[in-house]
Each structure stands twice: as C-alpha cells, then as structure tokens.
C-alpha cells in the first residue's frame, strides 16, 4: 500500500523494519531527518536498538564497526564532509569484512562549502570496498536498504554497503512509497547471523596486520567477494521482486533502449528527469534511451557493454568530477566499452545542486550527436 511520506522518513521506516541493534550517527545536512526520525523511534520504543549519539562521523562508523564485530546488525547514515571524515574507517570496515549498511544522502564536497546535491562524496569512496547502490526515487531507496542488508550479511560476501540517494532531491521530497509490514520484512531479511564475532567463549583476534606475505591475498579475497556480490545482488533483487512485486534483479536497467541510437547513462534521481526527457524526445522521433546504473560497486562493466551493444553514441551524466580526468562514471563506462567502436562522451552535470531540467537532457543529447563531449555541461560562462 502506498503511503505519502518524506524520503528521509521512508528510509527511517525501512531501517526500523531491518531491525538494526545498534545505530550510531552524527547529524549532517541533508541526512538529519533520517537520524532524527530514528532517534524518535528509539525514544518511542518503536525500534529495539541502542542509539549512540557520537561526537563525529568518524566515531559513528567506528562505533558501528565495533558493534558489528561484537555481533550486532548496525546502521548509520551520513553525507559529504561526514563521509570524508569516515574515509579511514570506511576502508577499515570493508577490510575487516563488517556487513554495515549506511545511507548516503548524496551531497557535494567542499571547498567551496555546499550543502547541495551531487555524488562526489560516495564516488570518492569508490575504492574503499563498500558496495555502492544508487536509487532513482524514494521507493527504490527504501527497497535497496533491505537488499543491501541481505547481500552484505551473506557469508559469501561480508562487505559493507552504501545506499545512496540524492540529498534534498530525494531526502526532502514527499512522495508515495510502499513499505513492507514488519512480518513481510522479516520474511525477506532474516535475523542477523554474524559470520564471526568478538566472544569470550570463543576468543578471536580481529583486524590483525598483514605482512607482505599476506596483504595482497587479503585484498584479492575482498575483491573476489566484491565480484561475487554481483550475483548476490541479482539474486537478492530477484527475490525482492518475487515477494514485493518490484524487481531489482538488474545491476543496470534500460529505459527505451532497445532501438536507441543514443543512450544516456546516469545514476540516481536524475534518471527520472532523463526518462521524462526521453519520452518527449521520442515523441519528436528521436531514438534515445537511458541506461540507469543502480550498482556502481561492484561495477557492472559486462552488463553495461551488453546493454549498450546496439547504440552508436553514449552520453554519460556524471554528478562528480575526478579533477584532472573527467567524471568517474564516464571513465569507467569508456573502459567497459573499450574496443566496441561506440562513441562515448562524458558530461559533468549538476554539481553542487545545479538544477537539471528536461531541456538540459535534450541539450546533452544534441551535443553527443554532434560529437561534442567530455566537458562540463551548463557552465555559467558569464561568471568565469
């Protein structure tokens, strides 16, 4: 049943249904409504969890790591500067194979200071060993949390995950969302069963250091787990579809792509605007489609190559910039399509909350068709 609610509230509600036992978070715009709602749920005894009001994001994730290691399902949420402050713990949590799920309310990184949306924050942690899932709307955001817990806690995977949704654009938007009942959620997501835990009855040293004889092999195993996560995501997404009627078995998702000449590639909430723009372009007779990337890590390179094999031109919309080398998604899509003969252009767009309209999407397609790309789109040249 659809209910009308704010995106952040939908996240808090789904997190409640995932039954975390320890929540540690530090408030930061635009993540605040999520943690406020969760704190209220704890205060109302609606959720049976310890809520640790840590003094920083760094400690938020550190506390989650400890609680996870001790055998609890944990949750946190952050964004932007907060995620940057967690950088060190992010690598550590993944390396220690703790199945932490954290919501990222995507926001730009300073300087200049900006509270507005882009995806620079999570993209900058792409090499940290966390699964990265990007949601188009608040329904998908909620659903991906359950899928993330299921995949992360799989003893064959044991990695943490970011569930990313665009700050303000989704966090602060009210729209209809269907949430499972607690019983339905329990049926999909079983109780946490830690692979190993700190336990006096069975002592274990966790987080030891590895000499050069071992380090590469540990990193290899993490990489292997990340690759296995692809199939685990497909399976968990399919099972979700079977139970709830919303299928997430694709790591990528095509929209009007079958006969498209030009494919846009994007992640997150911009995909909705792109779809509306594509409908208008289609009405005008233009063969344009969208490939939405839902799973950025593990990166679905072969799935992307397969989905785009029949297009002639690809325009990637990047809400991030790897300064000195273009957008991160564009770079990786180019790599995935290497040798295919497809023209791939990258567009840095919507940084720091710059609004994107349907006509902007059409303009990007125009540029791609003219062979113009690998550029910032929509710069206000008058202030440069």
């Amino acid at each position: 049943m659809l209910e009308f609610m704010e995106g952040s509230h939908a996240v808090a509600e789904i997190v409640k249904r995932c039954r975390p036992q320890v929540i540690a978070a530090y408030p930061i715009t635009p993540q605040t409504h999520i943690v406020e709602d969760l704190a209220q749920m704890v205060a109302n005894c609606e959720i049976d969890a310890e809520y640790i009001t840590v003094e920083s994001e760094f400690s938020a994730l550190s506390a989650c790591l400890g609680a996870s290691a001790a055998g609890s399902r944990v949750y946190s949420a952050t964004t932007s500067q907060g995620l940057a402050l967690m950088f060190e713990v992010c690598f550590n949590a993944a390396g220690m194979r703790q199945p932490i799920v954290m919501t990222i309310a995507n926001r730009s990184l300073g300087a200049p200071l900006s509270i507005w949306n882009d995806q620079q924050d999570s993209i900058s942690l792409r090499d940290s060993g966390w699964l990265q899932l990007y949601a188009e709307d608040n329904q998908e955001t909620a659903d991906l949390h359950m899928i993330a817990y299921k995949v992360c806690e799989d003893h064959d995977i044991l990695l943490p995950a970011f569930v990313c949704f665009d700050g303000f654009i989704l966090t602060h938007t009210y729209e209809p969302v269907a949430l499972p009942s607690q019983e339905e959620a329990d049926a999909y997501l079983p109780a946490f069963n830690p692979y190993q835990r700190l336990d006096a009855a069975k002592p274990l040293s966790m987080g030891m250091y590895a000499t050069p004889e071992y380090y590469m092999e540990f990193r290899y195993e993490i990489d292997q787990a990340m690759h296995r996560a692809k199939q685990a995501l497909v399976k968990a997404g399919r099972e979700f579809g079977e139970q709830f009627g919303r299928d997430y078995s694709g790591l990528v998702e095509g929209y009007r792509l079958d006969d498209a000449d030009v494919a846009l590639v994007a992640m997150g909430s911009i995909c909705g605007t792109v779809k509306d723009a594509i409908d208008e372009m289609r009405e005008a007779g233009r063969k344009v489609g969208l490939l939405k990337i839902r799973t950025y890590r593990p990166f679905p390179a072969s799935e992307i190559a397969d989905a785009l094999k029949n297009v002639s031109t690809v325009a990637v919309l990047d809400k991030n910039i790897s300064l000195g080398n273009g957008g991160a998604v564009g770079t990786e899509v180019k790599s995935a399509l290497y040798g295919s003969g497809i023209s791939v252009y990258d567009y840095i767009i919507a940084l720091g909350g710059r609004d994107v309209r349907k006509r902007d999407i059409a303009a990007v397609v125009d540029l791609a068709e003219k062979g113009k790309g690998d550029m910032f789109y929509g710069l206000r040249t008058e202030v440069l």
């Binding site: 659809l2 009308f4 704010e6 635009p30 509270i115 507005w116 949306n117 188009e136 709307d137 665009d166 303000f168 654009i169 602060h172 938007t173 009210y174 729209e175 209809p176 909430s269 911009i270 995909c271 909705g272 605007t273 779809k275 509306d276 909350g353 609004d355 994107v356 309209r357 349907k358």
Partner: protein
Amino acid sequence: MRELRIHGRGGQGSVTAAELIAFAAFEGGVYAQAFPAFGVERRGAPVQAFVRFSDARIRLRSQVYEPDYIIVQDPTLIRDVDVFMGMKSGGIAIVNTEKPDFDARVPEGVKVYTIDATTIALEELGVPITNTTLMGAFAAATGEIKLESLEHALRNRFSGSMADKNVRAAQRAYNQVGGAL
C-alpha cells in the same frame, strides 16, 4: 501533470503547505510530489516550495519553472520576487493580500484570486500563519484537492483544537474563494 509553486517567507510554513496539499491530493487518488527549494534561508527570507500532481507516477525531479498554479503567502513578496515567472495562460494564482487591486504585472490568461488570509488566520488561529488558510483557497480555486481530503490532511498533521482551528481557517477561505467563482 500539473505543477504548483508556493512563494513564502521562511517561517510561514510554505514547505508544510506543499506537503499537505500533496498529501491531500494523494489521498484524493492522484500521484503527488512535494519538495522545497533547498536552501539555507532563515526566517523571513523569500522561499519556495513545489507540488506536482499527476495521474501517473511522477519521475521528474527538476524545480518548477512553468507552474500551472502559484500561491503567494505574503503580499510583500510581489515586490521582491517575480512570483508569476513562467506561468502559463490558464494558470491560477492565489495571492494573500488585503488589496484585491495589488500592483503587479500578471501574465495574460492567468486568473488571480486574492484573499485576506492573514486576517482569517489571525481570527481563527490567533497567529498570522497563513499556509493552511491558503490551502483552502487553493482547493476552491483549482479543484486539485477536495475539501474533505484537505481536512483529512490537516487532522493528520495537527491534533485537538489546533486541528479544528486550522480546518475552520481553510474552510473559510474555501468558502470565500468558492463563492467568488
């Protein structure tokens, strides 16, 4: 799809108005989306909030540039902000003002309803917070939301006598604008 842009000042409840209008529309059986113009504005600064109404799931995430409807919560905004910007012919504007003959360039084909929402709010709520009053006017002027849905939205948001007061304020505005139709 129809789009509404609400102009107000920080603290006047424009975001709440957007949320409640969208909620009422959703209760009435259509898809709706409500969101603020995300900013760091403090109390008193001009702010905007947006609502979309559609029979299909709403995917568009851009701000509202060509609204079918606008609500102007504070007459002083008309001086500071081009509240009518992008409005289409056939659009409807609800303006809170004591002066029906206010001074502004209204685009051709836009129907303007003025209402002294501040007085109604002061009389019914005891505070000059006009968002719920203007929602009643919006319901009457546009037909986008039913009065029952609006009342339900208000009772869902407020409780006890506060709910009653807000419902009365919305009803008065609804009747006043409805009577003028």
